[in-house]
C-alpha cells in the first residue's frame, strides 16, 4: 500500500519551540486515524503542518499526492467572520473552488452537487440563511457540506465534534464513515476516548512527542494515556537547542513506544 502521508523525523513548532517533536510514520491511503492527546499535545500543529499552513522546523512531510488541493482541512476554530453578509449556499459552494476557481461558472451540474451536499448534512431549507444566524452545530454541518464538495482524497478534521450535540456529531460522523468507505484518508483530532475506541481503527497518541501509534486498542492503553498526560504542556523558555536531531522516540508504528527515552538536553 502506498502512503497518503509520510512523516520523516518531523518537528513542528512556533518560534523554534517544538509543538510536535520527532514524529516518524506513515498514514496509509484510505486509513481512518484518530489523533488523540491532551490539550497542547500538538494535534492542531500537526494538522497545520499537514496542510502546509506552517513549515516544519526540522524533518519533513511527504504527501502521496503533491497537489495541496487534494487535502481538505477543517480547523478547530475556523477563523470565519460570522458577521460577514453571506448565506449558507454561497458558503458551501466555496467547496467547489478546485473546480470553479476564481472565474469558473457554477453550472446546473454544480448546483446539483451543492444542493446534495447541503441535504447530506441536513441543512436543506437553510440555503438562504445568513451564516450569522446559524447555531454552532449548524455551522459545523455547513462546514462539513463544504468539505463534501471539496472532494479531497485526504481529509483532516481538527476536533470536529467539539461543542456540538450528540445528534449532530452522530450525523457528521456518518459522513466520516462514508469517506472512509470511499477509501479516502481521514485524520481526526478527538478528545472522546470511548468514541475513538468504538469508531476508529487506528490511533496516534500525541503529547508533543508521539507516545504511540497503531491499532486503537494497542494505543489507548492506561499506561500510554498516563504517559501522555504527564508530558508537560508549557514551553520551556530556557530550553537549549535540541541536540538529538536524528532521533525518533517512536519506533515504526504499531509497536509500543517508550516516550521516556528522549529528553531535550538541558
Amino acid at each position: 500500500m502506498t502512503a497518503a502521508l509520510r512523516f520523516r523525523n518531523l518537528t513542528l513548532g512556533y518560534d523554534r519551540h517544538p509543538a510536535v517533536h520527532h514524529l516518524d510514520g506513515a498514514v496509509e491511503n484510505g486509513a481512518l486515524v484518530a489523533v488523540v492527546g491532551p490539550n497542547g499535545a500538538g494535534k492542531s500543529t500537526l494538522f497545520k503542518g499537514i496542510v502546509g499552513v506552517i513549515k516544519p522546523l526540522a524533518g519533513g512531510i511527504e504527501r502521496g499526492d503533491p497537489n495541496p488541493q487534494n487535502i481538505a482541512y477543517l480547523p478547530q476554530a475556523a477563523d470565519i467572520d460570522r458577521t460577514f453578509p453571506i448565506n449558507v449556499y454561497d458558503m458551501v459552494s466555496m467547496g467547489l473552488w478546485r473546480r470553479a476557481g476564481s472565474f469558473g461558472g457554477i453550472d446546473r451540474d454544480a448546483r446539483t452537487l451543492i444542493e446534495q451536499a447541503i441535504a447530506a448534512v441536513g441543512l436543506s431549507g437553510f440555503e438562504d440563511r445568513a451564516i450569522a444566524t446559524l447555531s454552532g452545530g449548524q455551522m459545523q454541518r455547513m462546514l462539513f457540506a463544504r468539505l463534501l464538495l471539496q472532494d479531497a482524497r485526504v481529509i483532516v478534521l481538527d476536533e470536529p465534534f467539539n461543542a456540538v450535540d450528540a445528534k449532530t456529531s452522530a450525523d457528521l460522523f456518518d459522513l466520516v464513515r462514508r469517506w472512509h468507505g470511499e477509501r479516502r484518508t481521514v485524520l481526526t483530532a478527538m478528545h472522546d476516548i470511548d468514541f475513538v475506541r468504538a469508531n476508529f481503527p487506528e490511533t496516534l497518541l500525541l503529547a508533543r512527542e508521539p507516545v504511540a501509534w497503531g491499532h486503537t486498542a494497542n494505543v489507548l492503553t492506561p499506561e500510554n494515556l498516563l504517559a501522555a498526560r504527564r508530558m508537560c504542556e508549557a514551553f520551556d523558555h530556557q530550553a537549549e537547542p535540541c541536540g538529538d536531531e536524528q532521533a525518533s522516540t517512536l519506533p515504526p508504528r504499531g509497536e509500543p513506544a517508550d516516550a521516556a527515552t528522549h529528553q531535550p538536553r538541558r
Binding site: V53, D79, D81, W97, A130
Partner: protein, 291 residues
C-alpha cells in the same frame, strides 16, 4: 412643474461646470462605494483615512518637482499609496504585527518623510486644493482620470471578487485552497489607493474617504447580502453626489462637504430606520415570532 425642473435639472443643463462636477461625482461613487463596502466588512474602515495621509506627501513631492501638474501629483500619490499598501500587506502577512499596526507605522513614516522633503525645499506650498479638492473645477484630464479609475475599479473588482469575498469570510480556507487570496488582498489595497486618488481630486484627501465609508455604512443597514449591500451603497453614493451638488448650487455652500453631508444624512436615516439592525427596529422590535 417648471419650478421642479428648474430646481433639479436646470443647474446641470445651464452650467458646464455643474455637468462636469456631476459626471465626476457619479464616477467617483461608482468606484468608491463598492470599495468602501469591502473596507467596512474587513473592519478596515479607518484604513482609507490612514491611506489618505499616506498619499498626501507623495502628491506634495510631485507638486514640488513639477508644480501644479495633474500627472506628477497623481503619480506621486499613487506611488506613495502603493508602497504603503504593499508594505502593510506584506508585514501583516509575514509578522506578528496586525494590519492596523503595520499600516499605522507606514503611513506615519510616509507622512514624516513627505513633510521632511517639503521642509528641506524650504517652500511653503499651498496644499489647500489637495486637502479639500474642488469638484466644481474638474478639467478634462481630471475627469478622465476619475472615470478611468472607476472603470479599472469595477473591472478589477469583478476579477478578484470571488477570492476577495472568501478571503474576507474565511481566510484560513482561502489559504488552504489557493494562493490567490493574498493577491486579491493586495489588488484590493491598490484599488483603495486608486479611489483615494480620484477622491482627492474631487473632494480632497480629507473627505475622499467620506464617499467610501458613509455609503457603505448606509448599505449595511438595509441588506444582509453583500451584493445588495454594494448596490445600495452605490445608489446612496450616486444620490449624495447629485443632491450634494444641487444643495451646493442653490445654497452657495462648498460642494465637497455638501456631497458628504448628504451622504451623512442618508446614513443617519439608515441608522435610525434601517431594516437590518436600525435603532428603531431595536427599540420597537414588535412581538416575537412563533419560531
Amino acid at each position: 412643474m417648471s419650478t421642479v425642473y428648474q430646481i433639479f435639472i436646470t443647474p446641470f443643463t445651464e452650467f458646464e461646470f455643474m455637468r462636469r462636477a456631476l459626471a465626476g461625482a457619479l464616477a467617483l461613487a461608482l468606484g468608491a462605494c463598492p470599495i468602501g463596502v469591502f473596507l467596512m466588512l474587513r473592519r478596515m474602515s479607518l484604513v482609507g483615512d490612514a491611506m489618505a495621509h499616506a498619499i498626501l506627501p507623495g502628491a506634495a513631492v510631485g507638486f514640488l518637482l513639477s508644480g501644479l501638474n495633474l500627472f506628477a501629483m497623481t503619480a506621486g500619490g499613487l506611488i506613495a499609496g502603493f508602497v504603503v499598501a504593499v508594505l502593510t500587506g506584506l508585514v501583516a502577512r509575514t509578522t506578528e504585527l496586525k494590519e492596523d499596526a503595520a499600516l499605522a507605522t507606514f503611513y506615519l513614516l510616509s507622512l514624516a518623510i513627505g513633510v521632511t522633503i517639503i521642509s528641506l525645499k524650504g517652500t511653503n506650498i499651498d496644499l489647500l486644493h489637495v486637502l479639500f479638492g474642488n469638484v466644481l473645477a474638474l478639467d478634462d484630464q481630471t475627469l478622465l482620470l476619475i472615470a478611468g479609475n472607476a472603470t479599472i475599479t469595477l473591472i478589477l473588482l469583478a476579477l478578484i471578487y470571488r477570492p476577495l469575498v472568501i478571503e474576507c469570510v474565511d481566510p484560513g480556507f482561502m489559504r488552504a485552497v489557493s494562493r490567490s487570496g493574498g493577491l486579491a488582498h493586495l489588488a484590493f489595497l491598490v484599488l483603495v489607493v486608486l479611489n483615494l486618488v480620484s477622491g482627492f481630486h474631487a473632494l480632497g484627501t480629507l473627505l475622499a474617504v467620506g464617499m467610501m465609508m458613509l455609503p457603505a455604512a448606509t448599505g449595511r443597514f438595509w441588506a444582509r447580502d453583500i451584493t445588495l449591500m454594494m448596490l445600495i451603497a452605490t445608489a446612496s453614493g450616486l444620490l449624495a453626489g447629485y443632491a450634494g451638488l444641487l444643495v451646493s448650487f442653490h445654497f452657495g455652500v462648498a460642494s465637497g462637504p455638501a456631497i458628504i453631508l448628504i451622504a451623512g444624512v442618508l446614513y443617519l436615516i439608515s441608522l435610525l430606520f434601517g431594516q437590518v439592525g436600525g435603532l428603531a427596529r431595536q427599540l420597537f422590535p414588535g412581538r416575537h415570532l412563533e419560531a
